[in-house]
Amino acid sequence: MEAFAPGIYPRSEELVQETRDLDRGRTTQEAVDAQVDRDLQLLVAAQQEAGLDLLSDGMLRWQDLFRPFVEAAEGLERGALTRFLDTNTFYRAPHGDGTAPRLAEPLADEYIAPLPTERLVTLPSPFALSLGTGIDPRTIAEGVLRPQIDALGAELVVLSEPFLARAEDADVEGLALALEVLHGGPPLALWITFSDAGGLLARGLAELPVDAIGVDFYSTSIDALPERFGKYLLAGVLDARNSLVEDPPEIASFAAQLEQRVERVALVPNGDLQYVSEPIAREKLARLGQAKTARAGQGVAA
């Protein structure tokens, strides 16, 4: 049993203030950079104290899941501010300019920070990044995501996918073609966030050409999981849209149920932790680690 936390992590109150001040011309980019470094150090420490197996950089500079690629890739443009699912957080929906997108340069360290030990890197899934652009996911994968993955060193690349399970008639086959393009580098996970993956599981989600599948178990029933699930499962057991902190023994018991169906399980949030404030997210990380420890103490599931 492993545990880690992909996705965008919330900014500390100090970083919130620094970035607000930057917008108002009251501070410098250097001061913001210094606070980002402090936030990153605290996040790394929090993950290490929690005993998480792969470190995440928390994507502290990402304004949303798509923005760095929209700004770095030719052929993509910033669209209208759009509500992210049922939250009060908004993102700039990517738009296409009619040409095949191409990542001019892989994202620099400011967006994918070096970490002291084994790490995971979160990127948008090709379906999510292509939504609304008029570009098919495979073309996005070839022109934007593949060059980025080729430039990465990571133990796991998590492709964050908030929209696929909610899309009517989602083209799972089209996504499979896109994922094939990304195959061959670091292990890949497709992380279905904040949504019921039951329909996708019934349509062969587990057959997609990735090494791991992430499932939100606050939206998805465990009964939707096949009796024998052949993939590495990232089990979304922290509710990242809820301020209540989880009960580690409850998570450990649930993990034991999962292990009866799945050979390899990692405990993760059900989406980006940025939808709660940083102190709450930090407490959730601690409890994720406690749940992993509690599960280890239970021994082999009955």
Binding site: P10, V16, N88, F90, T220, S243, L244, E246, I280
Partner: protein
């Protein structure tokens, strides 16, 4: 002349706070440019006694923040009056923010920190943790002051129950345990939110509205920017509005913005107590002139508001609040004339910006409002001419 028609004009809610209020509130020192701002805008708007404010700022107003806020309210009232609006508010100069201000005056909530709205913009989010009640009416002081200071009529913006519910964490109404691995039950989620929103409507919003009515408020605008967050909860939004206002003696309207407005139909057919919807359309519209459907793509949905059985007025958003582009009077005119053509009844059309102008400078906001009123006068001339010719 019997055929003359006039359109009612109004604002929506917020305006930017001036630098001298922002800095005084934050305990930061003023610069000469801040005092020049107070001096020049005071003269430009004809704010009576504004030299007193300038003197106060020059002396240091750290311990007189409320006085400075009152001056800011006087300036914003004058700004809108000078632009020619019929119904105004003070741009919410006295409030912190539309969510936090209401929650700060409610029992049953606890703060849960800061969450991103977008980019480097954030908001403070709270959780409902117990039974909800009104700690103290939270617009009374501001309304009484503005009543004493305004020359035009006052429309009070109040954040609605559904938006307060959907913008809060729920630690009280929904299940706190046993959710893992069960799968989402939308029915249970909606029922928990229903209980939450209706408690807010009954125990927070309604007594606050009653207090405003007791003080003489004639028009209250219920702001619901979160109304369309969940497409399967629109009936709940309508129900929470009705519970908030039912039986109260006042003109109630609702402000909706930056949504797929089609989602609101047919749910808002039930909101029979809503006498006006003020809605942002200019954000989606072309900047070219013309009063046909093809010229006005941003206004395609307005026929649905026309067809509501209780025939509310439509507060027609004609100013895009997201840009510094100044709409010409002719563009405003054409947007109004298109709406009149669709509605077939000019009396049901009011004219307003898409939303509060908080993100624009006073220079831009003032210029936009002046052009809006000029465009309204042009539309009145055209409509009056048509009425005279027809009859």
């Amino acid at each position: 002349m019997n055929d003359a028609h006039t359109f009612l004009t109004h604002e929506i809610g917020s305006l930017a706070k001036p630098p001298w209020l922002v800095k005084t509130s934050a305990g930061r020192p003023l610069e000469d440019s801040d005092i020049d701002h107070a001096r020049s805008w005071g003269a430009k708007l004809g704010v009576g006694g504004h030299e007193e404010l300038v003197e106060l700022l020059e002396q240091g107003a750290e311990d007189r923040v409320q006085d400075v806020a009152n001056w800011s309210s006087r300036y914003t009232l004058r700004l809108q009056e000078k632009a020619g609006l019929d119904w105004i508010w003070d741009g919410e100069q006295q409030r912190t923010e539309m969510y936090a201000w209401a929650i700060a005056h409610a029992n049953g909530f606890e703060p849960r920190g800061t969450v991103r709205s977008f980019d480097n913009k954030y908001y403070s989010k709270s959780a409902v943790t117990g039974p909800i009640s009104l700690a103290a009416p939270y617009h009374n002081d501001e309304f009484e002051f503005l009543k004493s200071a305004a020359k035009a009529k006052l429309k009070v913006p109040v954040t609605g129950a559904y938006t307060l519910a959907i913008w809060s964490y729920d630690e009280f109404y929904g299940a706190s345990q046993g959710r893992l691995g069960r799968g989402e039950s939308r029915a249970a989620t909606i029922e928990a939110r229903r209980e939450f929103a209706l408690d807010l409507a009954r125990n927070l919003i309604r007594p606050n509205l009653q207090a405003l009515i007791d003080l003489g408020s004639e028009w209250i605008q219920i702001d619901e920017p979160g109304a369309s967050t969940e497409s399967d909860e629109l009936e709940l939004f309508a129900e929470s509005f009705n519970v908030s206002v039912e039986g109260l003696d006042c003109r109630f309207s609702t402000h909706l913005c930056f949504s797929n407005y089609d989602l609101f139909f047919p749910a808002i057919e039930a909101m029979t107590g809503c006498r006006q919807y003020c809605v942002g359309f200019a954000n989606y519209d072309s900047r070219e002139l013309g009063a046909t459907a093809a010229d006005r793509p941003g206004y395609e949905v307005i026929s649905k508001f026309r067809d509501l059985p209780y025939e509310p007025a439509l507060g027609l958003g004609v100013l895009d609040i997201h840009t510094d582009f100044i709409e010409s009077p002719e563009l405003v005119r054409d947007r109004i004339l298109y709406a009149v053509d669709v509605f077939g009844d000019p009396a049901r059309i009011n004219v307003c910006p898409d939303c509060g102008l908080r993100t624009r400078s006073w220079d831009v906001a003032y210029e936009k409002l002046v052009r809006m009123v000029e465009g309204t006068r042009l539309a009145e001339e055209a409509v009056s001419r048509s009425l005279a010719e027809a009859g």
